[in-house]
């Protein structure tokens, strides 16, 4: 506890470990809480319990060998991470991507975003005490996993994108399956809305809990639903258009209140927007190649550093790669959104009740291996 002496308070405080093994941290995040009764005096997240050296592996593997790692950083929206890394290398090496491959990328990334938001919805309401929504949300999520598994081959840690295209083409079964899934999810969302969002207990647990002001979000570099919950209209798909996103019309849900309820509503609305994107992408799906004619074996981007950002489910995921002309990265920096989103927890949770701090942490939608990399 940096400089926080016990004697400062005539009311003794005690230190509580919201430790690595805790149901509410959804992974191995440890938060050192200095508590005065049930009120948090000081919260300091401790990271590194699942540090898996992704950036070190980026340096001693060739560009193509690093692809499986992308799916294992944020395994809930793994395809966005595939997209970020592959697009960064394509920008560095100047590889063109055929039109149909870009559409397939957008379809699978948006489906992955829906499955990530569904899992967050189930786990978040589980943190607040409701167990049943998790079972419903996982039921829907399994439908998406079936669809994505038929195309990519894996359920969670996808390695579907290649430099210059994608690995596998989609067939009619996938298209009809996706349309059926969207119709089914559209019927279930009003049920979630009625049962959970309008539930007085949830509203009481989330309204005005963990307010994050626009300035605090900017000073900490928070992006994604956490920033959009505080009134910042920042979405990398719209702000920094990449791939074929400019061809779809979807709007960015932004809420001004900045409390946990706002962040909750942003993600629930985003599920609807992602479904709109998938539908438009399926309607306008062009024919053509999904991979470059000659397979891209040796990727050798020229010297220099490049940056590419994509909108992952949790915020702007950026890849900064420094290449020295060889076929492996000289330095690969992975800017993970939850790293910055969580860094404001220390300031935001000061003076809160412990259960409210858990509601705030759930609304930040944490995936710990993405923070520790």
């Amino acid at each position: 506890m940096n400089g926080f002496l016990q004697q400062d308070l005539n009311q003794e405080t005690f230190t509580l470990n919201l430790g690595p093994q805790h149901p509410a941290t959804h992974g191995v995040l440890r938060v050192k809480l200095v508590m005065d009764g049930e009120y948090i005096v000081e919260a300091e997240p401790v990271l590194g319990y699942i540090h898996r050296m992704h950036e070190k592996m980026g340096e001693n593997r060739t560009w193509a060998k690093f692809l499986p790692n992308c799916g294992r950083m944020d395994y809930l929206s793994a395809l966005s991470y595939n997209h970020g890394y592959v697009a960064a290398v394509e920008r560095a090496a100047g590889i063109e991507v055929p039109e149909r491959a870009e559409y397939l990328r957008v379809i699978t990334v948006e489906l992955n975003r829906i499955s990530s938001h569904l899992l967050w919805f189930g786990a978040f309401v589980l943190d607040l005490g409701g167990f049943t929504p998790l079972l419903y949300a996982f039921d829907d999520r399994e439908q998406i996993l079936d669809l994505l598994e038929s195309v990519t081959g894996s359920r969670l840690t996808y390695c579907y994108f290649r430099f210059g295209g994608v690995y596998n083409d989609i067939d009619d079964a996938f298209i009809t399956g996706t349309r059926a899934f969207i119709k089914r999810l559209r019927k279930r969302m009003p049920m979630y809305d009625a049962l959970v969002t309008k539930n007085i207990i949830l509203i009481k647990r989330l309204k005005d809990i963990g307010p994050i002001s626009k300035d605090m979000a900017r000073r900490y570099g928070a992006t994604g639903p956490v920033a959009r919950g505080s009134g910042i209209n920042f979405d990398v798909r719209r702000h920094e258009p990449y791939s074929v996103y400019p061809e779809f019309d979807f709007d960015i849900p932004v809420y001004e209140e900045g409390d946990s309820m706002a962040r909750y509503m942003v993600r629930m609305d985003e599920i609807e927007q992602s479904m709109r994107i998938v539908e438009q992408a399926l309607d306008k799906l062009p024919e053509g190649e999904i991979k470059p004619k000659k397979a891209v074996k040796m990727v050798k981007p020229e010297k220099g550093d490049y940056y590419h950002a994509v909108e992952a489910a949790r915020g702007s995921f950026g890849v900064r790669l420094v290449s020295d002309g060889t076929n492996s990265a000289y330095r690969l920096k992975l800017r993970s959104p939850t790293y910055s989103n969580l860094s404001l927890f220390g300031e935001a949770a000061r003076g809160m009740l412990l259960p409210d701090a858990l509601a705030l942490m759930g609304s930040l939608d944490l995936v710990i291996p993405e923070i520790d990399r």
Binding site: L9, N10, E12, R30, K32
Partner: protein
């Protein structure tokens, strides 16, 4: 009619023993059938559960009075219910009206304690800030 009160006391004693058995029974069963001791690697079996890491500092500190007052109110009403059990046994043996009035007075006086605590703000759970924060 000596047996009737004796019989009643036997019932109460039987229930008391049943309750005791129900409470202590699992401990005895667990102690008998479970293997004794547990394999451990870093001798941390006896350490308090703190999500896998060393607990920092000590939990025996002075904490807010609010918790104590809450417990006090619970205790008052717990004892209140305790007295109602024997009354329920001997409720309509004598004059019904008398018993009813007695119970109302008994519960009434006790709920006065509740009103007093309410006025003193025990149920308002806001933070008692002693520190000059």
């Amino acid at each position: 009619m000596l047996q009737q009160p004796l019989l009643d006391h036997l019932y109460v004693a039987a229930f008391f023993l049943g309750g005791l058995l129900m409470a202590v029974g699992p401990f005895i069963i667990a102690h008998i059938f479970a293997p004794r001791g547990t394999r451990n690697i870093s001798n941390k079996t006896k350490q308090f559960i703190e999500c896998g890491v060393e607990p920092i500092g000590d939990a025996w500190i002075r904490f807010g009075i609010v918790y104590y007052l809450y417990a006090l109110i619970f205790l008052a009403f717990d004892v209140d219910v305790l007295f109602l059990f024997p009354v329920a046994l001997a409720y309509d043996t004598g004059l019904v009206m008398r018993d009813f009035v007695e119970i109302v007075i008994f519960v009434g006086i006790l709920s006065l304690a509740l009103v007093y605590a309410w006025k003193k703000g025990v149920f308002k759970w806001e933070r008692k800030t002693y520190s000059p924060r």
